[in-house]
Symmetry: C3
Subunit: 457 residues, 3 copies
């Protein structure tokens, strides 16, 4: 049974609620690219799927970069002269510029102001800002909060530590029949932001749960990593593993109500690119297939020229394109159970294509075989045939060892699921055989057929 069918036999509403509940558990944690926030996040993921947590020391060189210091934070606030907290990290962890160095001082507003970030256009929202690679500190607050500040002195406190420690990431590996791998990667470094990227973390976790109970063609590797530096660190530590990655997906911003977007890998025509495009076009409303660009999330690293991995990025609304992006409005109301569940379904359907996409060989390639005799055709001449029969005819016609099922689905316009069903049925009826995965080189069936029979006179 396909992964999608298995999923659809569950209660979709329940699946959506489960995803949203998991996001709700993860939401309050103050994550960053290093530190305890990400450790607590991985612990919650690890309670659901087998997860290996990896700690890499500060200062470790990773390609052109260096693993940064570990950041932890206990408290932060701006208080007025009466000690009243006007901006309070305990209420919302976005209030602190992520990765802020510690500070404790009293200063007039004029000194404080360069450290304050707001969004004048959305005066009630708190922005999300980071300063990973330049030591600095700052507060993010709503524009209305800032307007209410008078010219007095303020107590400013960020009770954080920025010191040698570790960069932490999680890895969930599921063994399949082949050592060839599918990579699913999502960044886990953002604090209380829901679509970016609790949506990706929760969907990936449930996907791993589902796959862990199945007999798999491919091995799967799920990465829960801090953005950019996490992907770079993983790649630097796993150069030998990279060669096994056959397909990959970065998951982000997949909980909102926007239509699906798939950004292609650098290769542009990788199997994952074609599988994702096929599924989005057949199974979702007004999807958009985007060309690769070197700006984005961690596909940037996987698709750097030295690796050039076939890794694309699945989104609903594209990061950066919606006003709630990187603000406090990207909250638990912004992501919905229905959309989370539908995103999980879309991932499942894409993985179904990867798992089932093979080449077959028609065992009766000269003319059509007599399908009617095998009850694979309608019996009274004169009526139209249905999609199942069309799918069978297409699979027979193009199964020459050169066309994969995805090739056939693309050329015929018939959904991959129907093509795949037809191939199984035709195999059962002795009309088709699987071409082994490693059959490269040598004579193709199509060449053999023609050499045997069609020599020119």
């Amino acid at each position: 049974m396909s992964l999608l069918k298995e999923l659809d036999e569950r209660d979709v509403a329940n699946t959506g609620e489960e995803l949203h509940r998991f996001a709700t558990d993860l939401y309050p944690i103050c994550r960053s690219i290093t530190g305890d926030g990400i450790r607590r996040t991985l612990a919650l993921i690890g309670s659901r799927v087998p997860l290996q947590t990896v700690e890499v020391s500060t200062g470790t060189p990773v390609f052109d970069w260096t693993v940064p210091k570990e950041w932890n934070i206990r408290d932060a606030y701006i208080a007025d002269s009466g000690g009243k907290r006007l901006v309070d990290f305990q209420q919302c962890n976005l209030h602190v510029m992520n990765y802020s160095a510690p500070v404790h001082a009293t200063m007039p507003l004029s000194d404080l102001r360069p450290h304050l970030f707001t969004i004048p256009k959305h005066p009630d929202w708190i922005p999300y800002r980071t300063s990973y690679y330049k030591e600095d500190w700052g507060f993010c607050l709503s524009h209305n909060q800032m307007l209410a500040l008078d010219n007095g002195d303020y107590e400013v406190c960020i009770d954080s530590t920025l010191q040698d420690g570790y960069l932490t990431y999680g890895e969930c590996c599921l063994a399949g029949r082949s050592s060839d791998e599918v990579l699913i990667s999502c960044h886990s470094c953002h604090p209380s932001l829901a679509n970016d990227n609790l949506s990706g973390l929760t969907v990936a976790t449930l996907l791993a749960q589902l796959l862990s109970e199945r007999d798999l063609r491919y091995s799967y590797r799920f990465l829960f990593i801090p953005g950019t530096i996490g992907a770079i660190t993983w790649l630097a530590r796993n150069r030998e593993a990279v060669g096994r990655i056959r397909h990959g997906l970065v998951l982000t911003c997949i909980g909102d109500t926007g239509g699906f977007h798939y950004k292609k890998s650098r290769r542009g025509d990788a199997e994952i690119d074609r599988a994702a495009a096929h599924i989005l076009i057949h199974c979702s409303k007004s999807p958009q297939i985007l060309e690769f660009s070197p700006y984005g999330y961690d596909e940037r690293q996987y698709c750097s020229p030295g690796f050039n991995l076939p890794v694309g990025c699945l989104m609903r609304s594209v990061w950066g394109s919606f006003p709630e992006y990187h603000t406090s409005a990207d909250n638990l109301e912004f992501i919905r159970p229905v959309q989370l569940a539908e995103s999980l379904r879309m991932c499942a359907a894409i993985l179904d294509v990867l798992e089932d996409n093979r080449r077959y060989c028609n065992l009766s390639p000269y003319c059509e075989p007599e399908l009617g005799r095998r009850n694979l055709y309608r019996s009274t001449g004169g009526n139209e045939i249905g999609m199942e029969t069309h799918a069978r005819l297409w699979v027979l016609n193009l199964s020459d060892g050169e066309h994969s099922l995805l090739d056939i689905a693309e050329r015929s316009g018939v959904p991959f699921s129907a093509i795949s069903e037809a191939a199984k049925l035709l195999c059962q009826n002795g009309l088709l055989s699987i071409v082994p995965d490693d059959s490269t080189g040598g004579t193709t069936p199509s060449q053999a057929w023609h050499e045997g029979t069609l020599q020119r006179s």
Copy 2:
């Protein structure tokens, strides 16, 4: 002279009438996939063109299929208790489900009804139904006829035989200078249906007549065969001949008033695909070029993966897409002399492309030759040049031994006929030579030109 020109020098109206008269002669015959109906049809075709009739015994294995029993019918009717024929095969041979097993019984309407076929949407039309591969019997009648039947008993008689015998098909072979062949195939198994496929049979017959009087580059093979099983039988018996087929056309539904449709071969870019598309686009109104699909007429068999022959299908209205399809309304009024003649013209123009499509070599490839000196250019500078001159410039420019005339026609947008005329004229003027058909491998003219003159310093 091109075949199209030869045809156009005749009286087109006369040609149309001749085609329609021939269809009228063939119309009353009750054809099926086997039996005397097809024999009588072939006899009439054989009175016009040299035709070899082939008989293949029932039970002969042909790939995955078996040659079926021979079916013949003398009479069939449904009569009321007073002996009055209410449904009468003698009035229209569509009234019997084609290939019906014999039956003679009296039965109440309730028993008869599962054996009756009508078209409620077109209550005056009789449908066409077959049951070739499941032994059964039935009557086809107008919906109004069925509504008039009361609940009494009916005498039901189908005086048919279904027994060992032969499958019969006709083959007309015309030898050309090359043993490479063009295949024209049309199904001849349908009873009184005009567009499907007396249109194909009659146009193919006249095409064969025309070609038989000409000096031909290719050899031609016309097949008049029962649909599906006939094509399979021919392919099974002629596996060695298949390798000689360079181009092929299935002709069906080419007598109605619809615009032309050409369905490409499985290859999609075969010379026949390009030739047919070029001619339809240049010579007919609102033509449609359709992608290959494995569902259709006998191109299904020719394009099965073990053969993958370059065979497309020429139609006006696409079978199955017009309401008269497979009903008594597909009659002699549904096909028109004008359209039949125009379809013959279109076939002739396509064959002209195949016959004349060669590669040439410019004998004066460095700069343009001086056409004015040879009266091949206008003499006073400053005026525009006409299509003939454009055609000459294009042929000279692209005749590097790599581009065929069809390549040149496609790239230039100039009709193939003008390109072909230009090539002949330039040959006569010593500016062009033919590249022999079998010149493959070795140095192309274009390579030789550049090696000789353009070595890098």
Copy 3:
């Protein structure tokens, strides 16, 4: 500094005026395909750029053609019986059919009329006519002038000579670091016609002036030649030089107010075709990219199949498409300083692409290098990045030794100039190295990266 920037640092209005003044100097000269008109034209060009003038004797065979006689003219007129000049070469050199044989006779209007050419649709304009390859004589006049002629006798005088002499052309060669050449060709055979082709002559001359002061990657060859026979003569005499031509442009009709048109070379995807299309699309309003056709200006000869050089044609309004074409209305008002200067800019931008289009190799190909550390990235996370940063990311991502900067510009949609700037900056920062021009064959960087690290397990 790019050629375009150098040009833009000058006063564009001044450049336009300079071009127009030069055209004004050249305008009165009565040029033809041979003779003193072209010699005087080359002398004026030669006063600005180093120019070699070549004289080829009448009767010299040049491929399929022969160098024609030299034509010179002192005077020509039609006078009435009272000796009054009604049509006077001294007033406009278009009045004589170019290359007219000498004549001096008195004749009635009826005998004269077959030798008169007018444009009834534009009754005040004088047409431009030639008769190079058929010895003849004629007068061109406004339609109104002709209507005013009564039936009396006329003195007809063309004081021309048509005798053995020379065909003259000019060649300006600028040596670059490579012996590979860029060819700029413009025809210099038209008399008082401004857009066709004083526009091409003047822009080419200033372009040569600009280039002569620069350090050049390519060598440049500017040809100032009579149309058709001049190009044929040059090609016949320079077969060994042809192999050095890597890119070429024919310049004509680039002074009017029409939008830019670029007609591709016969190859269709040559670097010059892509460079010109890129620049026109990014830097001009509503440009048109035209497919190659073998009819046109001297690209016909360069793109003849024996040469097949990568030479396209840059125009504003396409020759033959505007009513003023080949009439006295193609005068000094028809070309404008602003448009001439803009055409020079466009040529400069195209040459900048050719000069700077190289392949580079990313020296930090595994993941992105840390641009922030090098001040090549914005420092605060959460804001958008600008086009400069996008250009850097694209150059890094695609610099695998296989993509040229033009490939990168095309794929990214970022202007070539920004891509080229990014490449220079990344080289300065040690992140990129140039792939030598002659590095063909062997292992590409991209192959080396993958062999070293990505062996399959």
